[in-house]
Symmetry: C2
Subunit: 273 residues, 2 copies
Amino acid sequence: MVDQDELRSRKDADGIALPDALSAHGVQLDSALEARSELEGAAAYLELHIEQGPVLESMDLPLGVVLGTFGVERHQVTFRGQAAHAGSTPMDKRRDALAGVARLELEIREIAKRTGQGAVCTIGSVVTKPGIVTSVVETAECLLDQRHLDRATLASMLQEAKDASQRFAQAEDVEVEWERIWNIEPILFDDGLIELADESIKEVAGSSHRLPSGPLHDAAEVARAGVPTVMLFVQSLRGLSHTKLEDTKPDHLELSVQALDKLVSKTIERVTG
Amino acid sequence: MVDQDELRSRKDADGIALPDALSAHGVQLDSALEARSELEGAAAYLELHIEQGPVLESMDLPLGVVLGTFGVERHQVTFRGQAAHAGSTPMDKRRDALAGVARLELEIREIAKRTGQGAVCTIGSVVTKPGIVTSVVETAECLLDQRHLDRATLASMLQEAKDASQRFAQAEDVEVEWERIWNIEPILFDDGLIELADESIKEVAGSSHRLPSGPLHDAAEVARAGVPTVMLFVQSLRGLSHTKLEDTKPDHLELSVQALDKLVSKTIERVTG
């Protein structure tokens, strides 16, 4: 969990501090925790979302029940070498920070494959400095995201990546530094609500499927705050997300709203009954 | 050689077109070639420069004569895959553009080592898009710089890199595109002036050394325009350049100015004699 002092010091790409960015949207960091009172008396949290992945489509199912969300470890990994002229610096005298990132990018895929059970590792961003064609890369920063449904396995994936980065740094004569950006433990949804969601889906679509969620959702934070939570997934076409190609069939959207409606009714019935 | 239409279409990071950027500094693209008339009657071009590399320092010599400049092939290499959610996209369903760049970064070092004879290959910049921690990289653009003193060898290094990038693109199920940013052939300096430079250095420093230049210099363009050209290098400390740590001993700077003075006198004597 990030502490408030750390939050206060964070800035976006334009140099705007987090408290100022929040304030511009009517949220005061100092009183933000008081929002917790809104959770008092909350009986359940139900969320409908696109799957953002290829599982339901590959099973030819419109809807699924989400068991919980993967734990996530998210780090900025920075390799630091030495800027040097691309024309005059012999290959064996270079301390190329980019080589560290390149080796890590290839290694995290091996870590995910070795781990299995849906493990995923992603480097989604690389920033090179000075970032010019005439210089060996002095600093290469990358953002690493690792996810798994089992807490101990996730910890082990993280350690493997750290160990590998140290080996690469040593081999390349560069330095490596890890900074945790954010993390969250795996969060399992409410057993009773999972049953109700399963019933609702079967009633509108004939059959259901239970699956974990690789992506995070607001539901994970609400569940972590102690509110019984469940989610429904509706099929994503081609498993695509975070791109303009993201899409879902209108028929499936309609079924998903019907299933959510049933789930809401069943949940209210149980809570008030 | 880049044609004028291509120049006209180029824009900088702020979207300012090249002709406008030039014009803001008093240079008109359309009449730029008229500057060629300045070369009429030019008898020689002499340039003193820091080595920007580690050769003279490793030989414990203050000064050297430059034989010519490496040919350079400079390309933007773009791998295109598919953006997809970092949490929900199984490893075996990814089309990760960054993997293409990572493999190319490691391969160009092998190409340079296999080639030898001072060959250098550098990826100085990587840009990832969308460049966020929650998405597989859709587009990864890198800038590749390759240099060698022999024209055919340089062409072969380029072809090896292109072939490798195609293999990587196929293996990663992504696409790859090459765009030449700039290139220049190896340029050899004037034999007579090289002799005069050698004499001048020996007179002020006792001994001299002849070496090619990996970095490009204005001198290369002047030599290519037909003016007899030579350069002197003065030692760079730790071989570093393009960084704040770049430095040269004051004693060596003094020797270098003395050598240049002698070279100027000898050249004028030869031209007018």
